[in-house]
Protein backbone atom coordinates (compact mmCIF):
# COMPACT_ATOMS: atom_id res chain seq x y z
CA UNK A 1 0.00 0.00 0.00
CA UNK A 2 1.35 3.43 -0.93
CA UNK A 3 2.00 6.18 1.57
CA UNK A 4 -0.45 8.98 0.80
CA UNK A 5 0.80 11.46 3.35
CA UNK A 6 3.96 11.84 5.34
CA UNK A 7 4.77 14.40 8.01
CA UNK A 8 8.48 14.72 8.77
CA UNK A 9 9.78 16.34 11.92
CA UNK A 10 7.13 19.05 12.11
CA UNK A 11 7.84 21.81 14.61
CA UNK A 12 5.72 24.86 15.35
CA UNK A 13 6.79 27.54 17.79
CA UNK A 14 4.55 30.33 19.02
CA UNK A 15 5.94 32.96 21.37
CA UNK A 16 6.63 31.09 24.60
CA UNK A 17 4.99 27.86 23.41
CA UNK A 18 6.12 24.86 21.40
CA UNK A 19 2.78 23.80 19.95
CA UNK A 20 4.18 20.98 17.81
CA UNK A 21 7.43 19.33 18.78
CA UNK A 22 9.10 17.09 16.20
CA UNK A 23 6.01 15.26 14.97
CA UNK A 24 6.46 12.60 12.29
CA UNK A 25 4.04 10.02 10.92
CA UNK A 26 2.95 8.42 7.68
CA UNK A 27 -0.55 7.61 6.45
CA UNK A 28 -1.13 4.78 4.01
CA UNK A 29 -3.52 5.26 1.13
CA UNK A 30 -7.11 4.22 1.82
CA UNK A 31 -6.72 4.08 5.60
CA UNK A 32 -8.11 6.24 8.37
CA UNK A 33 -5.41 7.74 10.53
CA UNK A 34 -6.39 9.25 13.86
CA UNK A 35 -4.53 11.98 15.66
CA UNK A 36 -5.71 11.83 19.25
CA UNK A 37 -5.20 13.94 22.28
CA UNK A 38 -6.85 16.36 24.66
CA UNK A 39 -7.63 19.96 23.78
CA UNK A 40 -4.37 21.86 23.41
CA UNK A 41 -2.30 18.77 22.59
CA UNK A 42 -1.25 20.23 19.24
CA UNK A 43 -3.48 18.11 16.99
CA UNK A 44 -5.13 20.96 15.16
CA UNK A 45 -1.85 22.84 14.67
CA UNK A 46 -0.22 19.68 13.32
CA UNK A 47 -3.06 19.09 10.90
CA UNK A 48 -3.18 22.73 9.81
CA UNK A 49 0.53 22.62 9.03
CA UNK A 50 -0.09 19.56 6.89
CA UNK A 51 -3.08 21.21 5.23
CA UNK A 52 -0.88 24.18 4.36
CA UNK A 53 -2.92 26.79 6.18
CA UNK A 54 -0.41 27.30 8.99
CA UNK A 55 3.31 27.57 8.22
CA UNK A 56 5.61 25.24 10.15
CA UNK A 57 8.64 26.52 11.98
CA UNK A 58 10.46 23.52 10.50
CA UNK A 59 9.76 20.12 8.98
CA UNK A 60 8.18 19.00 5.75
CA UNK A 61 5.01 17.40 4.43
CA UNK A 62 4.99 14.96 1.54
CA UNK A 63 1.92 14.04 -0.48
CA UNK A 64 2.43 10.79 -2.42
CA UNK A 65 6.16 11.33 -2.04
CA UNK A 66 6.23 14.94 -3.25
CA UNK A 67 6.22 18.17 -1.25
CA UNK A 68 2.58 19.12 -0.68
CA UNK A 69 1.70 21.86 -3.14
CA UNK A 70 -0.81 22.67 -5.83
CA UNK A 71 -1.72 19.03 -6.48
CA UNK A 72 -2.31 18.50 -2.78
CA UNK A 73 -4.72 21.47 -2.65
CA UNK A 74 -6.59 20.13 -5.64
CA UNK A 75 -6.90 16.61 -4.25
CA UNK A 76 -7.37 17.19 -0.53
CA UNK A 77 -10.70 17.84 1.16
CA UNK A 78 -10.66 19.61 4.49
CA UNK A 79 -13.21 19.96 7.23
CA UNK A 80 -12.00 22.49 9.74
CA UNK A 81 -12.82 22.41 13.41
CA UNK A 82 -13.83 26.07 13.45
CA UNK A 83 -14.84 27.70 10.25
CA UNK A 84 -17.56 29.83 8.72
CA UNK A 85 -19.33 29.94 5.43
CA UNK A 86 -20.47 32.91 3.42
CA UNK A 87 -23.58 34.53 4.86
CA UNK A 88 -26.84 34.70 2.93
CA UNK A 89 -26.00 31.65 0.79
CA UNK A 90 -28.05 28.49 0.81
CA UNK A 91 -26.62 25.03 1.32
CA UNK A 92 -26.90 24.30 -2.40
CA UNK A 93 -25.22 27.56 -3.41
CA UNK A 94 -22.41 26.97 -0.93
CA UNK A 95 -21.69 23.53 -2.34
CA UNK A 96 -21.74 24.87 -5.90
CA UNK A 97 -19.41 27.74 -5.01
CA UNK A 98 -16.84 25.47 -3.40
CA UNK A 99 -17.07 22.94 -6.19
CA UNK A 100 -16.19 25.63 -8.75
CA UNK A 101 -12.95 26.35 -6.93
CA UNK A 102 -11.59 22.97 -8.01
CA UNK A 103 -10.73 21.52 -11.39
CA UNK A 104 -11.38 18.08 -9.94
CA UNK A 105 -15.08 17.77 -9.20
CA UNK A 106 -17.32 15.20 -7.61
CA UNK A 107 -20.89 14.39 -8.52
CA UNK A 108 -22.67 16.92 -6.34
CA UNK A 109 -25.94 14.98 -6.28
CA UNK A 110 -24.16 11.93 -4.91
CA UNK A 111 -22.52 14.00 -2.16
CA UNK A 112 -25.82 15.63 -1.29
CA UNK A 113 -27.42 12.22 -0.97
CA UNK A 114 -24.52 10.72 0.95
CA UNK A 115 -24.49 13.60 3.43
CA UNK A 116 -28.31 13.68 3.65
CA UNK A 117 -28.51 17.31 2.58
CA UNK A 118 -31.27 16.90 0.00
CA UNK A 119 -33.94 18.53 2.17
CA UNK A 120 -31.66 21.39 3.17
CA UNK A 121 -30.47 22.65 -0.21
CA UNK A 122 -32.55 25.85 -0.10
CA UNK A 123 -31.88 26.57 3.53
CA UNK A 124 -29.71 29.51 4.59
CA UNK A 125 -26.33 28.31 5.91
CA UNK A 126 -26.90 30.19 9.11
CA UNK A 127 -30.08 28.32 9.92
CA UNK A 128 -28.62 24.82 10.24
CA UNK A 129 -28.41 22.74 13.40
CA UNK A 130 -25.01 21.56 14.67
CA UNK A 131 -25.34 18.15 13.02
CA UNK A 132 -26.62 19.60 9.75
CA UNK A 133 -23.79 22.09 9.73
CA UNK A 134 -21.20 19.37 10.25
CA UNK A 135 -22.72 17.37 7.40
CA UNK A 136 -22.49 20.45 5.19
CA UNK A 137 -18.84 21.02 6.20
CA UNK A 138 -18.13 17.41 5.32
CA UNK A 139 -19.94 17.77 1.99
CA UNK A 140 -17.84 20.88 1.26
CA UNK A 141 -14.75 18.81 1.99
CA UNK A 142 -15.90 16.23 -0.57
CA UNK A 143 -16.83 18.49 -3.52
CA UNK A 144 -13.48 17.90 -5.23
CA UNK A 145 -13.67 14.08 -5.07
CA UNK A 146 -10.72 14.13 -2.65
CA UNK A 147 -8.15 11.37 -2.39
CA UNK A 148 -7.35 12.58 1.10
CA UNK A 149 -9.82 14.04 3.61
CA UNK A 150 -8.98 15.85 6.82
CA UNK A 151 -11.62 15.82 9.53
CA UNK A 152 -10.70 18.04 12.45
CA UNK A 153 -12.79 17.15 15.50
CA UNK A 154 -15.85 16.67 13.31
CA UNK A 155 -18.20 15.49 16.05
CA UNK A 156 -17.37 17.99 18.78
CA UNK A 157 -20.60 19.43 20.11
CA UNK A 158 -22.83 16.83 18.48
CA UNK A 159 -25.28 14.69 20.42
CA UNK A 160 -24.57 10.92 20.62
CA UNK A 161 -27.02 10.05 17.84
CA UNK A 162 -25.59 12.69 15.49
CA UNK A 163 -22.08 11.45 16.32
CA UNK A 164 -22.96 7.90 15.38
CA UNK A 165 -24.60 9.05 12.15
CA UNK A 166 -21.47 10.98 11.33
CA UNK A 167 -19.30 7.92 11.97
CA UNK A 168 -21.38 5.95 9.47
CA UNK A 169 -20.84 8.70 6.94
CA UNK A 170 -17.08 8.67 7.48
CA UNK A 171 -17.02 4.88 7.11
CA UNK A 172 -18.87 5.20 3.81
CA UNK A 173 -16.30 7.70 2.54
CA UNK A 174 -13.48 5.44 3.60
CA UNK A 175 -15.26 2.63 1.81
CA UNK A 176 -14.70 4.52 -1.46
CA UNK A 177 -10.93 4.21 -0.91
CA UNK A 178 -10.47 7.73 0.37
CA UNK A 179 -7.63 8.30 2.83
CA UNK A 180 -8.80 10.02 6.01
CA UNK A 181 -6.91 11.95 8.64
CA UNK A 182 -9.09 12.38 11.69
CA UNK A 183 -8.30 14.46 14.74
CA UNK A 184 -10.45 13.91 17.78
CA UNK A 185 -10.39 13.89 21.51
CA UNK A 186 -13.04 11.15 21.57
CA UNK A 187 -11.16 7.89 22.02
CA UNK A 188 -14.23 5.78 21.20
CA UNK A 189 -14.56 7.62 17.89
CA UNK A 190 -10.95 6.88 17.03
CA UNK A 191 -11.34 3.24 18.00
CA UNK A 192 -14.37 2.82 15.74
CA UNK A 193 -13.04 4.71 12.72
CA UNK A 194 -9.25 4.52 12.65
CA UNK A 195 -6.94 1.87 11.26
CA UNK A 196 -4.05 3.57 12.92
CA UNK A 197 -3.73 6.22 15.60
CA UNK A 198 -1.14 8.52 17.09
CA UNK A 199 -1.71 9.85 20.57
CA UNK A 200 -0.45 13.40 21.10
CA UNK A 201 0.13 15.37 24.24
CA UNK A 202 1.98 18.64 24.73
CA UNK A 203 2.92 18.82 21.08
CA UNK A 204 4.51 15.35 20.89
CA UNK A 205 3.41 11.95 19.67
CA UNK A 206 3.37 9.61 22.66
CA UNK A 207 2.62 6.40 20.79
CA UNK A 208 1.48 5.29 17.38
CA UNK A 209 -0.03 2.13 15.86
CA UNK A 210 -3.25 0.21 15.25
CA UNK A 211 -5.67 0.75 18.17
CA UNK A 212 -6.12 -2.92 19.08
CA UNK A 213 -2.45 -3.67 18.69
CA UNK A 214 -1.53 -0.80 21.00
CA UNK A 215 -4.01 -2.00 23.60
CA UNK A 216 -2.83 -5.61 23.38
CA UNK A 217 0.73 -4.50 23.65
CA UNK A 218 -0.02 -2.46 26.75
CA UNK A 219 -2.68 -4.48 28.57
CA UNK A 220 -2.62 -8.19 29.23
CA UNK A 221 -6.16 -8.58 30.54
CA UNK A 222 -9.24 -6.74 31.76
CA UNK A 223 -9.67 -3.63 33.84
CA UNK A 224 -11.40 -3.82 37.20
CA UNK A 225 -12.81 -0.47 38.29
CA UNK A 226 -14.18 0.41 41.72
CA UNK A 227 -15.08 3.62 43.57
CA UNK A 228 -12.32 5.09 45.72
CA UNK A 229 -14.88 5.59 48.50
CA UNK A 230 -15.41 1.84 48.73
CA UNK A 231 -11.76 1.12 49.45
CA UNK A 232 -11.31 0.71 53.18
CA UNK A 233 -8.18 -1.40 53.31
CA UNK A 234 -4.67 -1.30 51.92
CA UNK A 235 -4.15 -1.87 48.19
CA UNK A 236 -0.36 -1.76 48.38
CA UNK A 237 -0.09 -5.40 47.43
CA UNK A 238 -2.17 -4.94 44.28
CA UNK A 239 -0.92 -3.10 41.21
CA UNK A 240 -3.45 -0.27 40.82
CA UNK A 241 -3.90 3.38 39.96
CA UNK A 242 -6.21 6.03 41.37
CA UNK A 243 -7.99 8.44 39.01
CA UNK A 244 -8.67 11.35 41.31
CA UNK A 245 -11.02 13.38 39.16
CA UNK A 246 -13.28 10.39 38.48
CA UNK A 247 -13.03 9.05 41.99
CA UNK A 248 -12.15 5.52 40.87
CA UNK A 249 -9.45 2.94 41.38
CA UNK A 250 -8.41 0.81 38.39
CA UNK A 251 -6.66 -2.54 38.41
CA UNK A 252 -5.40 -4.31 35.30
CA UNK A 253 -5.81 -8.03 35.69
CA UNK A 254 -5.12 -11.10 33.57
CA UNK A 255 -7.08 -13.21 36.12
CA UNK A 256 -10.21 -11.35 37.17
CA UNK A 257 -11.44 -13.96 39.68
CA UNK A 258 -8.13 -13.98 41.53
CA UNK A 259 -7.95 -10.20 41.59
CA UNK A 260 -11.48 -9.87 42.98
CA UNK A 261 -10.67 -12.38 45.69
CA UNK A 262 -7.64 -10.30 46.61
CA UNK A 263 -9.71 -7.15 46.62
CA UNK A 264 -12.69 -8.35 48.62
CA UNK A 265 -11.18 -7.85 52.12
CA UNK A 266 -10.18 -4.31 51.20
CA UNK A 267 -13.48 -2.92 49.87
CA UNK A 268 -16.87 -2.35 51.46
CA UNK A 269 -19.11 -3.37 48.53
CA UNK A 270 -18.12 -5.65 45.67
CA UNK A 271 -21.39 -4.84 43.89
CA UNK A 272 -19.91 -1.53 42.76
CA UNK A 273 -17.06 -3.19 40.88
CA UNK A 274 -17.02 -2.88 37.07
CA UNK A 275 -15.08 -5.18 34.80
CA UNK A 276 -14.35 -3.94 31.29
CA UNK A 277 -12.02 -4.14 28.32
CA UNK A 278 -9.16 -1.62 28.33
CA UNK A 279 -9.70 1.21 25.88
CA UNK A 280 -7.74 4.01 24.30
CA UNK A 281 -8.61 6.34 27.11
CA UNK A 282 -6.82 4.01 29.52
CA UNK A 283 -3.87 3.98 27.20
CA UNK A 284 -3.86 7.76 27.06
CA UNK A 285 -4.01 7.94 30.83
CA UNK A 286 -1.11 5.57 31.19
CA UNK A 287 0.95 7.46 28.67
CA UNK A 288 0.32 11.01 29.82
CA UNK A 289 -0.62 10.64 33.45
CA UNK A 290 -3.79 12.68 33.04
CA UNK A 291 -7.28 11.88 31.94
CA UNK A 292 -8.90 13.05 28.71
CA UNK A 293 -12.09 13.61 30.63
CA UNK A 294 -10.46 16.05 33.04
Amino acid sequence: MRVALEARHLVKHYPGVVAVNDVSFAVEEGTCFGLLGPNGAGKTTTVEIIEGVTPATSGEVLYFGEPAGRRFREEAGIQFQNTALQDFLTVGETLEMFQKLYDRRADLDAIIEECSLGDLLDRDNRKLSGGQRQRLFLAVALVNRPRLVFLDEPTTGLDPQARRNFWELVQKIQGHGTTIVLTTHYMDEAHVLCNEIAIMDEGRIMTQGAPDALLKQRYAGMIIELPVADVTGDLDGIDHRVIENLGVVEIVSDDVARSISALSPEVTDLNHIKIRQPNLEDLFLDLTGHSLRA
Partner: protein, 342 residues
Protein backbone atom coordinates in the same frame (compact mmCIF):
# COMPACT_ATOMS: atom_id res chain seq x y z
CA UNK B 1 -9.01 30.27 -13.05
CA UNK B 2 -11.92 32.24 -14.52
CA UNK B 3 -14.34 29.67 -13.12
CA UNK B 4 -12.94 30.13 -9.64
CA UNK B 5 -13.05 33.91 -9.90
CA UNK B 6 -16.64 33.67 -11.13
CA UNK B 7 -17.61 31.38 -8.27
CA UNK B 8 -16.39 33.85 -5.64
CA UNK B 9 -17.71 36.83 -7.63
CA UNK B 10 -21.23 35.36 -7.88
CA UNK B 11 -21.32 34.28 -4.25
CA UNK B 12 -20.25 37.73 -3.08
CA UNK B 13 -22.90 39.38 -5.26
CA UNK B 14 -25.59 37.16 -3.79
CA UNK B 15 -24.41 37.91 -0.28
CA UNK B 16 -24.57 41.64 -0.94
CA UNK B 17 -27.95 41.58 -2.67
CA UNK B 18 -29.51 39.53 0.11
CA UNK B 19 -28.16 41.72 2.86
CA UNK B 20 -31.05 44.13 2.51
CA UNK B 21 -29.89 46.52 5.20
CA UNK B 22 -26.60 47.21 3.48
CA UNK B 23 -28.19 47.34 0.05
CA UNK B 24 -30.81 49.84 1.19
CA UNK B 25 -28.18 51.95 2.90
CA UNK B 26 -26.16 52.11 -0.29
CA UNK B 27 -29.12 53.37 -2.30
CA UNK B 28 -31.07 55.45 0.19
CA UNK B 29 -28.18 57.45 1.59
CA UNK B 30 -27.00 59.16 -1.59
CA UNK B 31 -30.54 59.73 -2.83
CA UNK B 32 -31.62 61.27 0.46
CA UNK B 33 -28.54 63.46 0.57
CA UNK B 34 -29.02 64.56 -3.00
CA UNK B 35 -32.61 65.61 -2.62
CA UNK B 36 -32.09 67.00 0.83
CA UNK B 37 -29.37 69.27 -0.42
CA UNK B 38 -31.24 70.21 -3.54
CA UNK B 39 -34.50 71.25 -1.97
CA UNK B 40 -33.64 72.13 1.58
CA UNK B 41 -30.24 73.68 1.23
CA UNK B 42 -29.68 75.15 4.60
CA UNK B 43 -26.37 76.90 4.17
CA UNK B 44 -25.06 74.89 7.05
CA UNK B 45 -21.40 74.04 6.90
CA UNK B 46 -18.51 76.37 7.18
CA UNK B 47 -19.29 79.64 8.90
CA UNK B 48 -16.87 81.28 6.49
CA UNK B 49 -17.18 82.49 2.91
CA UNK B 50 -14.58 82.38 0.21
CA UNK B 51 -14.30 85.58 -1.77
CA UNK B 52 -11.99 86.06 -4.71
CA UNK B 53 -10.28 89.43 -5.08
CA UNK B 54 -9.37 90.21 -8.68
CA UNK B 55 -6.31 92.41 -8.82
CA UNK B 56 -3.01 92.75 -10.63
CA UNK B 57 -0.73 92.14 -7.66
CA UNK B 58 -0.44 88.93 -5.63
CA UNK B 59 -0.70 90.64 -2.25
CA UNK B 60 -4.08 91.55 -0.86
CA UNK B 61 -4.52 95.26 -0.24
CA UNK B 62 -7.09 95.40 2.55
CA UNK B 63 -7.20 99.16 2.46
CA UNK B 64 -8.90 99.11 -0.96
CA UNK B 65 -12.33 98.60 0.60
CA UNK B 66 -13.70 98.02 4.14
CA UNK B 67 -15.26 94.76 2.96
CA UNK B 68 -11.76 93.28 2.73
CA UNK B 69 -11.39 93.65 6.48
CA UNK B 70 -14.49 91.58 7.24
CA UNK B 71 -13.82 88.72 9.65
CA UNK B 72 -14.73 85.08 8.91
CA UNK B 73 -14.25 85.57 5.19
CA UNK B 74 -11.37 83.95 3.34
CA UNK B 75 -10.08 86.35 0.66
CA UNK B 76 -8.26 84.71 -2.24
CA UNK B 77 -6.24 86.92 -4.56
CA UNK B 78 -6.68 86.15 -8.26
CA UNK B 79 -4.94 87.75 -11.18
CA UNK B 80 -6.49 85.85 -14.09
CA UNK B 81 -9.97 87.19 -14.90
CA UNK B 82 -11.18 84.17 -16.89
CA UNK B 83 -10.14 81.70 -14.21
CA UNK B 84 -11.71 83.88 -11.56
CA UNK B 85 -15.06 83.90 -13.40
CA UNK B 86 -14.87 80.15 -13.85
CA UNK B 87 -14.39 79.68 -10.13
CA UNK B 88 -17.52 81.74 -9.43
CA UNK B 89 -19.48 79.68 -11.93
CA UNK B 90 -18.29 76.44 -10.36
CA UNK B 91 -19.00 77.40 -6.77
CA UNK B 92 -15.33 77.47 -5.95
CA UNK B 93 -15.76 81.11 -4.94
CA UNK B 94 -18.83 82.50 -3.23
CA UNK B 95 -18.17 85.96 -4.60
CA UNK B 96 -15.60 87.75 -6.75
CA UNK B 97 -14.73 91.39 -6.17
CA UNK B 98 -12.44 93.87 -7.83
CA UNK B 99 -11.58 97.30 -6.46
CA UNK B 100 -9.96 100.10 -8.43
CA UNK B 101 -9.57 103.83 -8.31
CA UNK B 102 -12.93 104.36 -9.99
CA UNK B 103 -14.83 102.22 -7.53
CA UNK B 104 -15.43 98.49 -7.59
CA UNK B 105 -17.33 95.63 -9.19
CA UNK B 106 -18.45 92.26 -8.02
CA UNK B 107 -19.57 89.03 -9.65
CA UNK B 108 -21.83 86.41 -8.14
CA UNK B 109 -23.31 83.10 -9.17
CA UNK B 110 -27.09 83.66 -8.81
CA UNK B 111 -27.51 79.96 -7.89
CA UNK B 112 -25.05 80.13 -5.02
CA UNK B 113 -26.76 80.41 -1.61
CA UNK B 114 -23.48 81.34 0.03
CA UNK B 115 -22.88 83.89 -2.70
CA UNK B 116 -26.18 85.50 -1.78
CA UNK B 117 -25.12 85.96 1.82
CA UNK B 118 -21.65 87.12 0.88
CA UNK B 119 -23.26 89.71 -1.39
CA UNK B 120 -25.38 90.98 1.50
CA UNK B 121 -22.28 91.42 3.63
CA UNK B 122 -20.50 93.16 0.78
CA UNK B 123 -23.38 95.59 0.24
CA UNK B 124 -23.52 96.36 3.94
CA UNK B 125 -19.82 97.13 4.00
CA UNK B 126 -20.11 99.09 0.78
CA UNK B 127 -22.96 101.24 2.12
CA UNK B 128 -20.76 102.18 5.06
CA UNK B 129 -17.99 103.02 2.60
CA UNK B 130 -20.20 105.30 0.54
CA UNK B 131 -21.62 103.01 -2.16
CA UNK B 132 -18.63 102.47 -4.40
CA UNK B 133 -19.33 99.04 -5.80
CA UNK B 134 -21.65 97.78 -8.50
CA UNK B 135 -22.63 94.33 -9.74
CA UNK B 136 -21.22 93.17 -13.05
CA UNK B 137 -22.55 90.51 -15.41
CA UNK B 138 -20.81 87.21 -15.38
CA UNK B 139 -20.30 85.58 -18.74
CA UNK B 140 -21.10 81.91 -19.35
CA UNK B 141 -23.52 79.61 -17.57
CA UNK B 142 -23.71 79.75 -13.85
CA UNK B 143 -23.65 76.26 -12.38
CA UNK B 144 -26.19 75.27 -9.78
CA UNK B 145 -24.91 73.87 -6.52
CA UNK B 146 -26.75 70.64 -7.20
CA UNK B 147 -24.76 70.23 -10.43
CA UNK B 148 -21.56 70.85 -8.57
CA UNK B 149 -22.29 68.61 -5.62
CA UNK B 150 -23.68 65.59 -7.53
CA UNK B 151 -20.23 64.14 -8.40
CA UNK B 152 -19.26 64.66 -4.77
CA UNK B 153 -22.18 62.69 -3.44
CA UNK B 154 -21.76 59.88 -5.94
CA UNK B 155 -18.05 59.79 -5.16
CA UNK B 156 -18.66 59.74 -1.43
CA UNK B 157 -21.09 56.87 -1.75
CA UNK B 158 -18.57 55.03 -3.89
CA UNK B 159 -15.87 55.67 -1.30
CA UNK B 160 -17.90 54.29 1.61
CA UNK B 161 -19.13 51.33 -0.39
CA UNK B 162 -15.71 50.38 -1.73
CA UNK B 163 -13.76 50.83 1.49
CA UNK B 164 -16.25 49.25 3.86
CA UNK B 165 -17.75 46.80 1.39
CA UNK B 166 -14.35 45.28 0.74
CA UNK B 167 -12.10 46.23 3.65
CA UNK B 168 -14.55 45.48 6.41
CA UNK B 169 -15.96 42.36 4.78
CA UNK B 170 -12.55 40.79 4.17
CA UNK B 171 -11.63 41.39 7.81
CA UNK B 172 -14.90 39.73 8.86
CA UNK B 173 -14.14 36.77 6.58
CA UNK B 174 -10.71 36.46 8.14
CA UNK B 175 -12.03 36.69 11.66
CA UNK B 176 -14.78 34.11 11.26
CA UNK B 177 -12.52 31.63 9.47
CA UNK B 178 -14.06 31.83 6.00
CA UNK B 179 -10.76 32.97 4.50
CA UNK B 180 -9.02 30.07 6.18
CA UNK B 181 -11.54 27.75 4.56
CA UNK B 182 -10.81 29.28 1.16
CA UNK B 183 -7.08 28.98 1.83
CA UNK B 184 -7.55 25.21 1.88
CA UNK B 185 -8.75 25.27 -1.73
CA UNK B 186 -6.73 25.92 -4.89
CA UNK B 187 -7.90 29.56 -4.81
CA UNK B 188 -4.95 31.99 -4.99
CA UNK B 189 -4.88 35.35 -3.15
CA UNK B 190 -4.85 37.25 -6.44
CA UNK B 191 -7.94 35.33 -7.60
CA UNK B 192 -9.73 36.12 -4.39
CA UNK B 193 -8.78 39.80 -4.64
CA UNK B 194 -9.82 39.96 -8.31
CA UNK B 195 -13.21 38.48 -7.43
CA UNK B 196 -13.71 40.99 -4.63
CA UNK B 197 -12.82 43.90 -6.90
CA UNK B 198 -15.07 42.59 -9.67
CA UNK B 199 -18.00 42.04 -7.36
CA UNK B 200 -17.80 45.40 -5.64
CA UNK B 201 -17.18 47.23 -8.92
CA UNK B 202 -20.22 45.68 -10.53
CA UNK B 203 -22.41 46.59 -7.59
CA UNK B 204 -21.12 50.11 -7.07
CA UNK B 205 -21.25 50.91 -10.78
CA UNK B 206 -24.83 49.66 -10.99
CA UNK B 207 -25.84 51.69 -7.95
CA UNK B 208 -24.02 54.82 -9.15
CA UNK B 209 -25.62 54.60 -12.59
CA UNK B 210 -29.02 54.10 -10.99
CA UNK B 211 -28.61 57.08 -8.64
CA UNK B 212 -27.09 59.29 -11.34
CA UNK B 213 -29.79 58.47 -13.87
CA UNK B 214 -32.59 59.13 -11.40
CA UNK B 215 -31.05 62.39 -10.24
CA UNK B 216 -30.30 63.50 -13.77
CA UNK B 217 -33.85 62.83 -14.93
CA UNK B 218 -35.53 64.49 -11.99
CA UNK B 219 -33.19 67.42 -11.36
CA UNK B 220 -31.95 67.87 -14.91
CA UNK B 221 -28.35 68.01 -13.76
CA UNK B 222 -25.68 69.34 -16.05
CA UNK B 223 -23.70 66.99 -18.31
CA UNK B 224 -21.36 68.71 -20.75
CA UNK B 225 -19.07 65.79 -21.57
CA UNK B 226 -19.23 62.15 -22.58
CA UNK B 227 -21.05 59.57 -20.50
CA UNK B 228 -18.49 57.00 -21.53
CA UNK B 229 -15.65 59.11 -20.17
CA UNK B 230 -17.56 59.55 -16.94
CA UNK B 231 -18.09 55.79 -16.77
CA UNK B 232 -14.38 55.18 -17.23
CA UNK B 233 -13.58 57.65 -14.45
CA UNK B 234 -16.05 55.91 -12.15
CA UNK B 235 -14.64 52.47 -12.98
CA UNK B 236 -10.99 53.45 -12.56
CA UNK B 237 -11.88 55.38 -9.41
CA UNK B 238 -13.76 52.42 -7.95
CA UNK B 239 -10.77 50.15 -8.54
CA UNK B 240 -8.49 52.58 -6.73
CA UNK B 241 -10.86 52.87 -3.75
CA UNK B 242 -11.42 49.11 -3.54
CA UNK B 243 -7.66 48.54 -3.71
CA UNK B 244 -7.23 51.02 -0.89
CA UNK B 245 -9.74 49.01 1.17
CA UNK B 246 -7.78 45.84 0.43
CA UNK B 247 -4.62 47.37 1.86
CA UNK B 248 -6.44 47.99 5.15
CA UNK B 249 -7.90 44.48 5.01
CA UNK B 250 -4.65 42.74 4.12
CA UNK B 251 -3.76 41.74 7.66
CA UNK B 252 -6.18 43.23 10.12
CA UNK B 253 -8.11 40.65 12.12
CA UNK B 254 -10.38 42.86 14.19
CA UNK B 255 -13.51 44.39 12.73
CA UNK B 256 -13.30 47.24 15.23
CA UNK B 257 -9.76 48.05 14.18
CA UNK B 258 -10.70 47.81 10.52
CA UNK B 259 -13.63 50.17 11.15
CA UNK B 260 -11.34 52.65 12.90
CA UNK B 261 -8.72 52.52 10.16
CA UNK B 262 -11.31 52.89 7.44
CA UNK B 263 -12.88 55.85 9.19
CA UNK B 264 -9.45 57.37 9.59
CA UNK B 265 -9.15 57.26 5.80
CA UNK B 266 -12.78 58.08 4.99
CA UNK B 267 -13.24 61.24 6.94
CA UNK B 268 -10.14 63.18 5.89
CA UNK B 269 -10.77 62.03 2.33
CA UNK B 270 -14.36 63.23 2.48
CA UNK B 271 -13.39 66.58 3.97
CA UNK B 272 -10.36 67.27 1.79
CA UNK B 273 -11.45 65.84 -1.54
CA UNK B 274 -14.08 68.47 -2.23
CA UNK B 275 -17.21 66.40 -1.75
CA UNK B 276 -19.31 69.19 -0.28
CA UNK B 277 -17.39 72.35 -0.93
CA UNK B 278 -14.41 73.57 -2.85
CA UNK B 279 -11.03 73.72 -1.18
CA UNK B 280 -10.37 77.07 -2.85
CA UNK B 281 -10.16 78.86 0.46
CA UNK B 282 -8.10 76.17 2.16
CA UNK B 283 -4.40 76.54 2.73
CA UNK B 284 -1.86 75.18 0.24
CA UNK B 285 -0.95 72.37 2.66
CA UNK B 286 -4.54 71.11 2.76
CA UNK B 287 -4.81 71.40 -1.00
CA UNK B 288 -1.59 69.41 -1.46
CA UNK B 289 -2.69 66.82 1.10
CA UNK B 290 -5.92 66.35 -0.80
CA UNK B 291 -3.95 65.10 -3.78
CA UNK B 292 -2.96 61.90 -1.96
CA UNK B 293 -6.58 60.77 -1.92
CA UNK B 294 -8.05 58.94 -4.90
CA UNK B 295 -11.39 60.65 -4.34
CA UNK B 296 -9.86 64.06 -5.10
CA UNK B 297 -8.79 62.87 -8.54
CA UNK B 298 -12.10 61.12 -9.14
CA UNK B 299 -14.07 64.28 -8.33
CA UNK B 300 -11.77 66.60 -10.24
CA UNK B 301 -12.09 64.44 -13.33
CA UNK B 302 -15.83 63.86 -12.95
CA UNK B 303 -16.56 67.56 -12.46
CA UNK B 304 -14.39 68.44 -15.41
CA UNK B 305 -16.42 66.09 -17.62
CA UNK B 306 -19.84 66.93 -16.21
CA UNK B 307 -19.45 70.69 -15.80
CA UNK B 308 -16.84 71.69 -18.37
CA UNK B 309 -17.18 69.02 -21.02
CA UNK B 310 -13.63 67.74 -20.58
CA UNK B 311 -12.64 64.98 -22.98
CA UNK B 312 -11.00 61.64 -22.25
CA UNK B 313 -7.63 63.14 -23.10
CA UNK B 314 -8.25 66.08 -20.76
CA UNK B 315 -8.86 63.80 -17.78
CA UNK B 316 -6.06 61.39 -18.67
CA UNK B 317 -3.71 62.77 -15.97
CA UNK B 318 -6.33 62.04 -13.30
CA UNK B 319 -6.97 58.58 -14.71
CA UNK B 320 -3.25 57.78 -14.79
CA UNK B 321 -2.87 58.99 -11.23
CA UNK B 322 -5.76 56.75 -10.14
CA UNK B 323 -4.33 53.80 -12.06
CA UNK B 324 -0.95 54.36 -10.42
CA UNK B 325 -2.54 54.50 -6.98
CA UNK B 326 -4.45 51.30 -7.74
CA UNK B 327 -1.27 49.53 -8.77
CA UNK B 328 0.49 50.55 -5.55
CA UNK B 329 -2.49 49.61 -3.37
CA UNK B 330 -2.96 46.27 -5.12
CA UNK B 331 0.71 45.43 -4.78
CA UNK B 332 0.62 46.23 -1.07
CA UNK B 333 -2.69 44.41 -0.60
CA UNK B 334 -1.48 41.25 -2.34
CA UNK B 335 2.00 41.42 -0.78
CA UNK B 336 0.74 41.63 2.78
CA UNK B 337 -2.44 39.62 2.37
CA UNK B 338 -2.93 36.98 5.03
CA UNK B 339 -5.64 34.35 4.83
CA UNK B 340 -6.05 33.91 8.55
CA UNK B 341 -4.59 35.16 11.81
CA UNK B 342 -1.60 33.33 13.25
Amino acid sequence: MLGRIYAIFAARNREFMRDRGTLSWNIVLPVALMFGLSFVFSGEGRDQYTVGVLQETETLDTSAHPFLETRFIEFVVLTDEDKAFEKVERHQLDLLVSFGEEGGRYWINPDSPKGYFAERILKQADTEAGGLIEQAEITGDAIRYVDWVLPGILGMNMMFSCLFGVGYVVVRYRKNGFLKRLRATPLRPIEFIAAQIGSRMTLIMAISIFVYTGTHLILDTRMEGSYLTLLVIAAVGAVSLISMGLVVAARVTSEELAGGLLNMINWPMMLLSGVWFSLEGAGPLAQSAAKIFPLTHILDAARAVMLDGATFVDVMPSLLTLAGMSAVFLFLGARFFRWHPE
